[in-house]
């Protein structure tokens, strides 16, 4: 996995123009891809015990040839996407954010999709055989939807 492959994947899968990633740097290590700004990479970091840099953008498996973007990454870049987007209605939104998979026929290709509700990007889903498998991290799920 490298920068060019990640950007190509985002472009091919979601139609996100590669120019969007111009000001960003990717750090690829141990199956994880982190996204940060180029400015961060130019700082003097000697002597700092670093745990992580920037935002967790995705995970990959070199062996299986799979890349998966995170919900947090898609919440930032999903707005630039032009394909493989699944739009939910209010009931589906609430189910999805609570952690359920969704049965839904849509014209997205099988694989990772961008889940949207109105103009909001909710995150990532995995579309296969008419089912959107929930990809919202457990810690981010809402267990009851309660709004006035």
């Amino acid at each position: 996995m490298n920068r060019a492959k990640i950007i190509k994947w985002m472009e091919q899968r979601f139609g996100i123009n590669r120019g969007i990633f111009k000001g960003y740097a990717f750090i690829i290590k141990n199956g994880k891809v982190w996204l940060t700004s180029r400015e961060v990479m130019n700082r003097e970091l000697r002597g700092i015990k670093i745990e992580s840099v920037g935002l967790l953008f995705g995970r990959y498996s070199e062996r299986k040839g799979i890349f998966k973007p995170t919900t947090n990454a898609l919440q930032i870049f999903g707005k630039y996407a032009s394909r493989n987007i699944v739009e939910l209605n209010e009931r589906e939104r609430d189910d999805y954010l609570t952690g359920y998979d969704l049965e839904k026929q849509c014209d997205a290709g099988e694989g990772y999709v961008i889940i949207k509700y109105k103009h909001h990007v909710l995150g990532c889903g995995l579309y296969r055989n008419g089912i959107i498998k929930n990809q919202i991290p457990k810690a981010r799920r809402r267990y009851s939807v309660e709004e006035v």
Binding site: Y24, S37, E39, K49, E51, S52, N72, A139, E147, V148
Partner: protein, 311 residues
């Protein structure tokens, strides 16, 4: 309504500073804290979010000192942490007074900033927002479990300009003159957050205050060492204990002859000057320039903030 039982020593502690007002102070200590949020402009348009929340019935009141801060007046009726806007990272629950240290640090887009005791990341994410996700922040904490919460919040808020490090803050003394700005929101006895968490009272003692003051003196020394000449350190705590506040600034002024305390002012905020004397001990008169915020002043948690410039 259930109310916390304040230890006798705590009730008497600030009577000498407040006089008759001590009763009001203690009354506020027992009152629940108003809930507030910060609109996260890294991910959202503030006007749109405010309008959407109001349409849903949220009663919002602007925090006068931060244009993206709002009190949620009917927070008991709206589930902030369960809202779509929280899920999307458009809003971040943050106490109104806790928005002050980043405001006073006032970072610019090109700055190299150290947030020395960063978890769980309320102020780090605010700094990133104020820097428009540019420049670079090192968000440090020494506790692994707290770092997990820090990283979670950074990711939810869409922060990319931040490096998370796990070090005892004291070791930054080895990284001399590295950062343009340092925020040291120091671990403290938490007297100011009694309104949020009564558990604070079960740990509270004068001994604990004195122990923490020792830790804070070590940390402020490291913060000054790692600051570039001309750089600014904001030292803050959410306690009222003078040993952890003016006492720490007094220590720094004695130890370093290349720093000065700068007077700060925040529009819309009521505060009082730092105190020059506590329990028979006099502090350097420069500590008067620090900011002491009592809970009854703005109906918030208590805070102490000092702005220190390295010469």
């Amino acid at each position: 309504m259930k109310q916390p039982i304040l230890p006798g020593k705590f009730k008497a502690r600030y009577a000498s500073l407040l006089g008759e007002e001590n009763k009001i102070f203690l009354k506020y200590c027992k009152m629940p804290l108003r809930k507030s949020i910060r609109i996260n402009t890294i991910k959202a348009n503030a006007k749109e979010v405010v309008s959407a929340l109001k349409d849903k019935g949220w009663e919002l009141e602007r925090v006068p000192w931060f244009k993206y801060g709002y009190w949620v007046k009917n927070a008991d009726k709206v589930a902030i942490g369960n809202s779509l806007e929280y899920f999307l990272g458009y809003i971040y629950p943050q106490e109104a007074a806790s928005m002050l240290p980043p405001i006073i640090l006032n970072p610019k887009q090109e700055d190299f900033v150290l947030d020395m005791a960063a978890a769980p990341g309320s102020k780090t994410t605010q700094l990133a927002q104020m820097m428009d996700n540019k420049g670079c922040i090192v968000a440090n904490d020494k506790d692994t479990s707290r770092i997990k919460a820090l990283r979670f919040n950074l990711d939810v808020c869409g922060v990319v300009n931040t490096i998370v490090s796990r070090m005892d803050g004291i070791w930054f003394k080895e990284l001399k003159e590295r950062f343009d700005l340092v925020l040291l929101d120091a671990p403290c006895s938490g007297e100011g957050v009694i309104r949020k968490s009564w558990n604070v009272l079960s740990r509270w003692s004068v001994n604990m205050i004195n122990n923490l003051a020792g830790l804070q003196k070590g940390l402020i020394g490291a913060a000054i060492e790692t600051l570039k000449p001309g750089g600014v350190l904001v030292y803050s705590t959410c306690t009222l204990a003078p040993e952890e506040n003016e006492g720490v600034i007094d220590f720094a002024l004695k130890k370093f002859d290349n720093i000065k305390v700068e007077k700060v002012s925040v529009e819309g905020l009521k505060w009082r000057n730092g105190i020059e004397e506590w329990e028979g001990k006099s502090f350097n008169s420069e500590v008067k320039k620090t900011m002491r915020i009592w809970p009854q002043d703005n109906d918030t948690q208590a805070f102490f903030i000092a702005k220190v410039r390295k010469l």
